[in-house]
Structure formats: C-alpha cells, structure tokens
C-alpha cells in the first residue's frame, strides 16, 4: 500500500462518508480534516517521489491492455495542489457559509468526487488511464457546475460540449498513438514520436494541444470558462478556479513537454510563417494572456472578472513552461502554485461579499471597506498577487517568466506579457475599488464582516501568498520535484530567489527593504505633523458640485471610459460569432435531416439511393 494508495483510499472513504452522513453539520469539518490528512500524506511522499515514482496497487487489464496508476513528480505537484485547494474550499464551506447554502451535501459530495477524479488524472500511469481520469474530471466538473440550476445549466452544457469535443480529440490522438506504437505507455510513445512523419507529428500535437487546450481554455476554446466557473456555488467555484483549469495544463505538460519533448515540437515548422509548433503554441498562450485580460477589464460582475483573469493567467503558465529553460519551466510551475493561492483567496473573498450583500455586481457595490475590513485585506493581498506586484508571490513567478523570455530572446512575447500585466493591474484595481472603496451604498449600511469561519481560510491563503512571496525558495523546492519529473533542466535557487548572471532576484532583500521603508514612511507620517482627525466616509469636498450625503454617487460603472473609447471597437466578439455559426449550422442540418424523416412519401428516396449505389457499382467503382 504505497502513499498513492493511501491517497486513493482517503478519497474513496471521503466520498462514502459524505454520501452516507453528509447531512449533519459536522460533515464539513470532517471533510476538511480528511483533505488535511491527504495534504499531509502528499507532502510526506515528497521524498520518495523526488527520485522515481510511486506505483499504485490500483490497476487492471482489459481487452489485453494493462492500465495502471503511478505518481511521479509532476503528478505529485498537482496532487498537492488539488489536496490543498480542496482543504481550503472545504474549510470555507464547513463554516457558516456552508450552513447558509441550500444543497450543501451535494456540494461536499461533488467536491469529493472532483478531488478523486483529479487524483486519478494526475497520477495516471499510461495514456489510457490518463484518458479515463480526463473524462472523470470533465464529468465531475460538469456535475459541479450544473448543480445550482438556473443560469448555471446552459453554462454547464456549453462546457460539457467543449470538454467532450476536446476529450474526443484526445481519444483519437491516443488511439493513433496506440496504432503506431502498439501500447499506451508514455515511454513507447516518446520513443516512437521521434520517428513519426512530420504530418503525423502535426496531427498528434494538434489533437493533444486542442484536446487539453479546451480544458485550459486556451484562446480559441475559451468562451465557456468564465460563465461556467462563475455560476458554480462559492466554495466549489473557488476550487474549480484554483485547480480545475490547471488539469489541462498538467496534461499539456505531460504529453507535449514530457513525452513529445519541446525540441521535437520546435522542429515542426508551419509551412508559410516561419513559426515552429512550439512558437505557435507560445503565441496562442500570448494571445490567451492578453485578450481575456482585456475582456476581464470590461466585465461588470466580480466573479466573471476573476474567471476571465483565470483564463489569462493560464496563458502565463503555459508560456513559462513552453520556454523550456530551467528558469521558464520553474516560473510556469511556480505560477500555477501562486495562481492557485491568490485566485482562491480572491474567489473566497468575493463569495464572502456575496454572502453578506447578496450581489457580486460591481455596479451595485462600493465602500465596503468600513464594513468588511478583513475581507478587504484578503482581496488586497489577492489582487497584489494577481497583478504580480512585489510583496506577493505572484511577482516572483512573473519575474521568472519575464527573465526566461528575455534570456530566450523572444522580445515580442515579452511585450505581450507586459501588456497583459498592465491590463491585470487596471482591472484588479477596478475590482477592489468598485467593491470596497468609494461610497457605501445605503442598502449596505447594516453589512457586517464575514464570519470568522470564512475569514480564517481567506487570510490563511493570503498569508501563504505573502510568505512564499517573501521566501520563494519554499515554493521553488516544490516545483523542483515537478521539474525533475518533467525532464526540464534543473534551476539553482536559494531561499530568496534566483541568482543568474544576467539579472537576479532576491525577494528576501526586496520585501525586507520594502517593509523597512514602509516602517520609515509610517514614522515620517505618524510622528511628524499633528494628530489625524478622522471624518465620516461620506463627508467629502466636491468643489460645490452635486455631491451630498443624501445623493451618494459611486463612480463604478464604465470605470475606464477613456480606455473603453480606444479599445471599445476591438470587442467584436468574432470568436463568439464563430461559435454561434457552428450552432446554427448544427441546427439547420439537424432540421434538414429531420425533414427527410417527415416526408410524406419516402420510397422515392429508397429508390434514389439504390439507383445511385448501383450506378456507382456499375461504373466500376471497386
């Protein structure tokens, strides 16, 4: 019974436990404890998995193919992420928020199912078990998204269609590999990939990239994620946002980077433009970084804004991994970890706001800083991480990705990355301003701070973000294991950060100096000059204009009017129209075929078909 089996056992016990007695209050805390235990088990397995991999007893052979599960470094890293995210989600759900929810038992059950499915996916031993895990994850996520009913259902349906189309592409890819190599093992695929014809390589790379890209919401397939993830109930959607989309990245890394190898991908050249397959994928990642971020800028719902950013951040991770150098891969993987921490904190904070005010519409919130200070602090730490500014961990991974892009000389990709970060800064400020800053709405006068059972996990996540920001070495040790398993070059790093010849980063110094400087600033501010005199939030000077406490005006709608006028025309939604085009095509051809079955007299068609077939046969059509 290896650690992996313990993990699977925990997941199974959890599902059974929630199934039978998920109804009473303590189920939430019990679930949290189990997830905690899972996290500890995964951490304990770190030593063993660093070198080789942990085989699992789970495995069966069917139709002559042996299917097994094995945990290697990469799988370990993503299992750790899943367990961690589930731990915080269940901690959050166990508290008052859970009790206030209608169908809490189903949420716990679906969370447990999702975790189990993800563990099966990330610890897959061969291509077939990878596909099995992949399908289970898609369907568990579908169930989780559709559970709330109402607007969630069309969003979930749209997700399911995308996910299944992706899964079918993956299945086709796997079967082609099987046809060529005769087995599903990764090493056979890796060995045979080199010898394949470039056409076959393109096909396989295309199928796997598209199939896994759908789950990661890469550019052309990104339309489903925002609505689907924001319609899921609070804690589960935090979990989905933090980890579920990264399963796509895991699979991409596993197949494209670890098995096929980046050098092989770089070898494949697009005939017309001088771009290689790797370059093409990097540009897709670049566009996925920028365009969803600027769509997020224009959102008016807090959850939609955050989910659109989730898509954008996915682009960073993929870009980092695809650079291929030790620094880039470490940057990409670290960004996965960092993203999980701050995105989850943000989503839990927004859920707390929804829990208290009942809405997440940015045009109807404002000034909550006076009512919900701790949620404000969490959101602040979250947006600093999301924007990638120094004190938080988001900055470290972004810096590493920029550094690796600079080293590999891809300047234009770096420009896209910069523009993406700038867009993020603008939209996260809009988020925190429209919710917490500005004037408090009259109806939110009575709003109280979120209960401690909700604030505690949020602050803990924020704390993790800060600590790994201050000492990135802690997180880099985790990514080293994944990097080793991925076959990417080793990254020498200290506790503070990375020291390379062409520019180094030591976060210990940066953050310490920042804190010292802020301390110095505080001294200057608080001790020089007279005592401060606090004024009511609504007592403002407006230069004799319309402003008065009776007429509260919160500037939140259309927050960046100038920018909107410039980039407004770019939002033509061409991809949305393409999607609708496919939809109508399906409906029209469906009606056409159904029409045939509604004809009054059908023997004519039988006759026609037979005559055509006979004609073809007689014309010697062997």
């Amino acid at each position: 019974m290896s650690e992996l089996d313990f993990l699977f056992a925990f997941a199974a016990v959890l599902i059974a436990g929630v199934m039978c007695c998920g109804r009473d209050g303590r189920a939430g805390w019990a679930a949290m404890a189990v997830y905690g235990a899972m996290l500890v088990a995964v951490m304990a397995a770190a030593g063993k998995v660093a070198g080789g991999s942990i085989p699992s007893a789970l495995g069966f052979s069917v139709l002559g193919h042996k299917i097994g599960w094995r945990m290697d470094g990469l799988g370990w890293f993503f299992s750790m992420l899943t367990a961690g995210a589930a731990f915080f989600a269940s901690w959050y759900a166990a508290g008052e928020w859970g009790r206030a929810q209608p169908g809490m038992k189903t949420q716990h059950l679906l969370l447990a199912l999702n975790v189990a499915a993800m563990l099966l996916l990330v610890n897959a031993g061969d291509l077939l078990s990878l596909f099995i895990g992949w399908e289970l994850v898609s369907w568990a996520a579908f169930a989780m998204m559709a559970q709330k009913g109402g607007p969630a259902q069309p969003a979930a349906m749209r997700y399911m269609i995308y996910a299944l189309a992706g899964a079918m592409a993956v299945l086709a890819g796997i079967m082609i590999v099987h046809a060529v190599t005769g087995s599903f093992a990764y090493k056979d695929f890796a060995a045979a990939f080199g010898a394949m014809s470039s056409g076959m390589k393109w096909l396989l790379a295309g199928l796997f990239a598209a199939g896994f890209g759908v789950k990661m919401a890469l550019m052309p397939f990104h339309l489903w994620q925002a609505a689907a993830y924001s319609e899921t109930p609070g804690a589960s959607s935090a979990f989905l946002n933090a980890v579920s989309a990264r399963m796509g990245l895991f699979a991409l890394i596993l197949v494209l980077v670890k098995v096929m190898g980046l050098s092989a991908l770089a070898g494949l050249h697009v005939p017309l433009i001088g771009l290689s397959a790797k370059g093409l994928l990097m540009w897709i990642a670049a566009f996925t970084m920028v365009i969803p971020t600027f769509i997020a800028l224009m959102q008016t719902d807090a959850r939609m804004l955050l989910t659109w950013h989730g898509i954008g951040q996915g682009g960073y991770m993929l870009l980092g991994v695809l650079v291929g150098t030790g620094l880039g891969t470490a940057g990409g993987l670290l960004h996965v970890f960092n993203y999980a921490t701050y995105q989850m904190a943000l989503f839990l904070a927004v859920t707390a706001v929804i829990h208290r005010t009942g809405t997440s519409d940015l045009d109807r919130l404002g000034g909550l800083i006076t009512r919900m200070p701790w949620t404000y602090v969490t959101l602040l730490m979250g947006i600093i991480g999301l924007a990638g500014l120094p004190p938080m961990n988001g900055f470290v991974s972004k810096w590493m990705i920029y550094r690796s892009l600079l080293d590999s000389g891809s300047a234009f990709l770096l420009i896209f990355a910069f523009v993406g970060t700038l867009g993020t800064i603008l939209s996260v400020y809009k988020l925190i301003h429209n919710i917490f800053l500005g004037r408090l709405r009259p109806q939110h006068e009575g709003v109280r701070e979120a209960p401690w059972s909700m604030v505690a996990p949020m602050l803990a996540l924020g704390g993790i973000g800060f600590v790994t920001g201050w000492f990135p070495g802690l997180a880099l040790n985790l990514t080293d294991i994944a990097q080793a398993a991925m076959g990417a070059p080793e990254l020498p790093h200290g506790l503070g950060g990375v020291a390379t010849a062409r520019g180094s980063l030591n976060m210990i110094w940066v953050v310490s100096i920042l804190l010292v400087a802020i301390g110095f600033g505080a001294i200057v501010f608080y001790f020089l000059g007279n005592r401060r005199y606090e004024v009511n939030q609504l007592n403002n000077y407006a230069g004799g204009h319309f402003l008065s406490p009776q007429v509260p005006y919160q500037f939140s709608h259309e927050f960046y009017p100038g920018l909107a006028r410039v980039i407004g025309p770019w939002y033509r939604g061409s991809i949305v129209r393409a999607e609708q085009g496919i939809g109508t095509l399906l409906d029209v051809s469906g009606d056409l075929w159904r029409g045939i079955y509604h004809l009054a007299w059908t023997p004519l068609y039988l006759l026609a078909a037979t005559v055509i077939a006979l004609g073809w046969a007689i014309m010697g059509g062997m």
Partner: protein, 247 residues
Amino acid sequence: MKSAGGYAPARIRGHERNHGKTVASVLFLGGLGLMLFELISAVPFGSAPMQVGQAIAGEAFARTGADNIVTAILLGYRGLDTLGEVTILFTAAAAAGMVLAGAGRGEAQGQEAGFIFRTAAWMLFPFLLVLGAYIIIHGHLTPGGGFQGGAILAAAFFTPLLASPASPFNHRVAILVEGFAGLVFVVIGLAGLAKGAFLTQLLGTGTPGALLSAGSLPVLYVAIGLKVGSELAGLMARVFGEGSARS
C-alpha cells in the same frame, strides 16, 4: 363522399400532382430498369450455370422418390423454406386477424350477388373441393401441390361467402385446422430428427410413380394444403369483413 359501393375509393385531389416528384421518379426508374437489364443480361438468357440444379435433378428421384422434382425440392431439399413460407402465411393471417379484429361492421353489409352466381356457388362447392383435394394429393407426381390445391380449397369455401355475404363462415374451425396442420408439419419435421436431421424424409421412397410414393412428402403436402386452404379462406372472409364479429 359516401358512395353506395361500400369501399369505393375516396376521391383523391389528383390535380395538383407534384410534377417534380413524377419527373424524378421516372428518371430514377428508367435508370434502374436499364441497369437491372444490363446486370441480368450479364448472364445471357438460358446459360446460367445450373450447378446445384443439375445435381438435384439427377439424384432427386433416387433420394425422394417424387416424380415432380420441384416438389422434391420444395419439401425435401429445401423443406425449411416451405415451412418458413407457411409460417409467413400464418403470421400474415394472424396479423390481419388482429388488425381487423373489432373492425366491426364497418361499411354496409355487402349486398347479395346476382341470382345466377348464388345458385352456381353452391353447385361449384363440391367440384372445387374435389379438384383441390386432387391437386394436393398428387402434388409429388404432377405439377401443383399443397399451395395450389389449398388455394382452390379456399376458393371452394369462399365462393358461397361471396354469393351471400350473410352466410356464416366458421372461423373457429378454420383456425383449428390451421393450427393443427402447422403442428403436423413441424412434428413430422421433428420426427425426422430421429433419422438424422430435421425434415428427413420418412416412410422410404415407395414405388415410383404410384400415389403412395415419395414417403412423407405427400403427407407434408396434405398438411400444407389444409393449412393454406383454411388460412386463405379465413383471411379473405375477414378482409371481406363478413364474419369478423365471431372470430
């Protein structure tokens, strides 16, 4: 639209016929005809390789003792086809019976046929019976057999019905005969199992040309004749809608 003639076809608005469809069907049919003709004439008329046919023609008499080789094939070599065929008739009759059950009186009772036909019907009855029986019994010697004889028997029972629709037609007896005849056929077949395979010929081959030659074949043909006769009569009576009330 009710016309006195009972089942006169309702007027179909024929005028707005769909010309496009007619042209299409004519074209396709022409194509089909040409192609079929060309296909079938790939084997010039009369020169088809009579591989199995020649072999059977050679040994049929020796093995079955029946003069009429077609009967030998029908009941001997391809006995199962005949069983299948009888089953189809039976199934069709059962299905028609089910479909028409409870159809009620439906249209008006068919009115009496002309006087000449009414009297002739009753006179014809015995002759038809004899002719039918003859054809069934000599199935293995002369052309004809269970099916042809059965049809004549059915006609024998059906003509009086045509003559005077009111006259009763006893469906219960028809179904009884039908069931038992079918059963006889299958039982003989199963009895053949003892001698090797299903439907093996029993009772030897008998003296060539004599009435009692060709072993169990004539028995089978009598069973078929009775079955076909009762089925057809019952079927036509039911379709004619006369005695359906009592079935």
